[in-house]
């Protein structure tokens, strides 16, 4: 035991609760609740109809059980589906945002006030069910980039929302996507018009604060012809003994020659050492490379959540389009992760690349599950997948479930996977050169994840490296 083990057990530093007056709706789920959420957000009729359709479909669906994760049955009637900080006045500028909220985000390392904002990154801060602030909106607007909360987009750009909402992840796609479609509260909306390279990195920061509520946000990013955007997502939650449900939907659409780079550092509360509490992170993320030569790249660093169940996917429709997936998933204690990707090759000469690194420690269970599907029309498709697992300790598990379906003989598909541990020889080699075991482990893990980290925007890469170090503190020895 010792160093790595000591490393992994450090306190979750984002576990505080913000004491703020909240506006909540009664717990439970039925059509009235869906109507209430819609009314709270003052939504147009079509959106309410869309929600209700999703809800009615959800009622008929069964909760999926195929994932390699285990948890007690979720009582969907015991969740609060809408929780928002009480609005003081209609806020026109950041000065009007409740200082308690600004403080919260500052504590999380996301300053929202103009003087302190991270240079080069526009942030949409989401607190429980609503977006509290979006920075650098004006600067983006000058370039024609729309970056705002989802609710705002519904009112201001209904045509765009209507056109793309549900076009990648239909409301009936799966159990959690249908649930989200019925009750989603807020989220981020980005629209990058033709030929524009977003001058800033766009980012959303999600925070769950209420112990009884779930978070159901919805993100939609559309990159028109030749546009480029890099989008970051971060998340934390306070420490509660109760499990909370986070069922988000993310939709990306890339038209001809467009590129979307989506990076996530997921650090939801993971539960304590005994596996009590933590977030159930059941998320549907999907991108559609609709146009020719378009590209969607997912990068994720998954360190939090009691249970992670997500498969950021790419539908490669346009000829020559490219899908990428880079992932580091770290699980410790009693965490469970079943994550991976789907690459659906439809267009000609489409290419995809999957790099997945799983690290399991403690009594956790980490699975990679992926699908590479080459449709008969996808001439010249190419895929390369690599999934490596690192096990720390003898009570954890690492699994790989890659599905490869090839229906075209000009396709070239390769999949490789390996599992190993940090060997005594490796540690010995470091020690012999005067490097402590703790540093050695951290260097080896960083080396193991390097291929993924170098895909992250700089600020995130630093954060991710630090996060891994913190999470693993004390799990090696």
């Amino acid at each position: 035991m010792s160093t790595i083990e000591a490393l992994a057990n450090r306190e979750y530093k984002y576990g505080f609760v913000t004491d703020i007056e909240m506006e909540v709706i009664p717990r439970g789920l039925n059509e009235d609740i869906v109507r209430m959420i819609s009314a709270k957000k003052n939504e147009p009729e079509w959106l309410l109809e869309w929600r209700l359709k999703a809800f009615r479909h959800w009622l008929k669906m069964e909760e999926p059980a195929w994932a390699n994760v285990h948890y007690p049955k979720i009582d969907y009637q015991d969740i609060i589906y809408y929780s928002a900080p009480k609005p003081r006045e209609l806020k026109k500028s950041l000065d009007e945002v409740d200082p308690a909220l600004l403080d919260t985000f500052e504590k999380l390392g996301i300053p929202l006030t103009e003087q302190k904002m991270l240079a080069g990154v526009a942030v949409d801060a989401i607190f429980d069910s609503v977006s509290v602030a979006t920075t650098f909106k004006d600067k983006l607007a000058r370039e024609g980039v729309i970056f705002c909360s989802f609710s705002e987009a519904v009112h201001q750009y209904p045509e765009i929302v209507k056109k793309y909402l549900g076009s990648v992840v239909p409301a009936t796609d799966n159990y959690f996507a249908a649930l989200n479609s019925a009750v989603f509260s807020d989220g981020s909306f980005c629209f990058i018009p033709k030929g524009v390279r977003s001058p800033l990195e766009l980012s959303s920061y999600f925070r769950i604060n209420n112990s009884e509520s779930g978070q159901f946000e919805r993100t939609l990013i559309v990159a028109e012809e030749g546009a480029y955007v890099s989008y970051l997502e971060g998340c934390t939650a306070p420490k509660f003994d109760k499990n909370q449900l986070h069922a988000a939907v993310v939709e990306l659409v890339a038209l001809d020659d467009a590129e979307i780079k989506y990076s996530t550092v997921q650090n939801w509360y993971a539960g304590d050492e005994e596996g009590r509490g933590g977030i159930y992170n059941f998320v549907t993320k999907r991108g559609k490379c609709q146009g020719r030569n378009s590209k969607i790249s997912w990068t994720q660093v998954e360190t939090g959540s009691a249970i992670t169940w997500k498969y950021p996917s790419c539908i490669l429709m346009g000829d020559n389009s490219i899908g990428e997936f880079y992932s580091v998933a770290l699980t410790n204690h009693y965490q469970q992760a079943d994550t991976g990707t789907k690459m659906i090759h439809i267009g000609k000469n489409t290419r995809s690349r999957i790099i997945s690194k799983g690290i399991s420690a403690g009594r956790s269970n980490n699975s990679y599950r992926g699908l590479v599907k080459i449709l008969p029309k996808a001439e010249g498709a190419r895929n390369y997948s690599q999934c490596d697992s690192l096990l720390i300790g003898s009570h954890c598990g690492a699994n790989t479930f890659p599905y490869i379906e090839v229906g075209n003989n000009t396709a070239r598909v390769e999949h490789e996977a390996s599992t190993s541990k940090i060997s005594e020889e490796q540690i010995f080699y470091f020690n012999q050169r005067g490097i402590s075991t703790e540093d050695a482990v951290s260097m080896i893990i960083n080396g193991f994840c390097k291929e993924v980290f170098r895909e992250l925007p700089m600020e995130f890469a630093v954060e991710a490296t630090r996060l891994l170090g913190l999470k693993l503190e004390g799990s090696v020895g």
Partner: protein
């Protein structure tokens, strides 16, 4: 694709009920008892549909659509020894058992040269002296409690092959078990069963062949159980060369004890729809397992290979190489699972599945799978799907080898990776011939 409600469609049950009545008297009590237990399960279990994860890519509907007739009495239908010639293996002369439509044929079998260290014979007529030994193992590994096809096979326990190798015996001459389907007017079904027991420190080579005399439609539902005791070493070949209109569902269960070695090579060339599930349990320390496979399919054939390597104890080593060649609108499925249980430290496992697609209509679904619950292990797997390399073709062209010949050479070379690992020369030759025939290619090979 609507999965068929299997329960009503299980046409095999009347035969099961009838079968129990035709036998009984002569069988040892435990044998009849096992059959009875399995028959009860067969009544309850539903046949798999594509909704079952294990059968996701293989739809057995065509099997269920065909009415099959169960043969209760041996009928050779004019089958003679010379009809078997293409399938016989020189090295096994005087050491073969032949089953026709699942029934033992003493006439075609020839056990004149079997060494004293081994007993081979018909499960339907177990000698008193072996009854205890076979009782211990028959039905102990192939789980008829969960798998519908295994339950059916076990419920039809009668004729079948047993091979019992005595402790410490090294059997030089390989043993050949042939399962022939012979022409009959109506489609027939058979449930071949093999039990292979290698006692402590023994060593032997066994070949299982499945083929047909004629182009008829039939269904083979085979189950093989292999037990390798401490220090035993088994080489096991499985050659599936059924008729192009046949259905073949095969299941092999292997139980390895301490320091045992199991090497197998499963070849699938025939059948319209075939599946072979190979499950190896490495139940003690220091076991060694090598499982190879080759499937070559064309036309509208569908071939499915499922393997499970279950590392339960430390220091197990496993190697796996499955290769497939697909032409026309053939389909192949590969699912290879490797489990490393908690505590199975120092496991070293490697798995590779490679597929060569020769035509634009062919299709492969492959799923290598690792489930690991121990940290000090080395496990790797890989899967590839591709076509012939254009630079390789170019290289051969630059040496004056025509396009057709070059393709034949490269395709043959792809298969040869697996075939060349087979230690019996006659098996290699037989396979070379069959693979080339299958791909309509002419190549002089030695």
């Amino acid at each position: 694709m609507t999965p068929i409600a299997a329960k009503e469609k299980n046409d095999f049950l009347p035969a099961v009920r009838l079968f129990a009545k035709t036998r009984g008297e002569g069988d040892p009590a435990w044998f009849a008892g096992l059959r009875q237990l399995a028959a009860a399960r067969a009544e309850e279990l539903e046949l798999p549909t594509t909704r079952d994860e294990e059968w996701k890519y293989t739809n057995i509907a065509p099997i269920l659509k065909t009415p099959f007739r169960q043969v209760f009495d041996l009928q050779l239908n004019g089958l003679r020894e010379k009809d078997l010639t293409p399938y016989l293996i020189d090295e096994t002369r005087g050491s073969r058992l032949v089953f026709v439509n699942g029934l033992y044929s003493p006439e075609l079998s020839d056990a004149s040269n079997v060494s004293a260290g081994v007993a081979i014979g018909n499960l339907g007529a177990i000698p008193e002296t072996l009854s205890g030994q076979l009782h211990k193992h028959l039905g102990a590994y192939a789980d008829y409690g969960k798998q519908a096809f295994t339950a059916l096979n076990t419920a039809m326990l009668g004729d079948g092959a047993y091979v019992h190798i005595r402790a410490g015996q090294v059997i030089e001459q390989p043993i050949h078990l042939l399962f022939v389907s012979s022409a009959a007017e109506a489609a027939t079904v058979s449930h071949p069963r093999v039990l292979l027991i290698a006692e402590r420190g023994s060593m032997a080579t066994v070949i299982e062949s499945y083929f047909a005399a004629g182009e008829n439609r039939y269904f083979t539902n085979a189950v093989t159980e292999v037990f390798a005791a401490e220090g035993a070493s088994i080489e096991h070949y499985r050659l599936q060369e059924e008729s192009d209109r046949a259905f073949h569902i095969g299941t092999t269960h292997v139980h390895q004890e301490r320091e045992s070695i199991y090497r197998s090579c499963a070849i699938s060339i025939g059948a319209e729809l075939s599946r072979h599930a190979l499950n190896v349990a490495l139940t003690d320390e220091f076991t060694e397992t090598v499982i190879d496979g080759l499937y070559v399919v064309a036309g509208r054939q569908h071939v499915d290979n499922h393997t499970v390597l279950d590392h339960r104890k430390p220091h197990g080593t496993s190697r796996q190489l499955y290769k497939g060649i697909l032409d026309d609108s053939a389909r192949a499925v590969f699912n290879g699972a490797v489990f490393v249980r908690e505590g199975a430290l120092l496991t070293d496992s490697r798995q590779l599945n490679k597929n060569l697609l020769l035509s634009s209509e062919s299709r492969v679904d492959t799923k290598p799978q690792l489930e690991i619950f121990a940290d000090d292990v080395k496990c790797a797997h890989g899967a590839t799907v591709g076509q012939l390399e254009s630079d390789e073709l170019f290289y051969l062209a630059s040496r004056g080898i025509g396009a057709e010949q070059a393709r034949a050479l490269l395709t043959y070379g792809f298969a040869e990776d697996v075939i060349s690992k087979i230690r019996l020369r006659s098996v290699r030759r037989q396979l070379d011939r069959m693979v080339l025939e299958k791909l309509h290619q002419n190549l002089e090979v030695n």
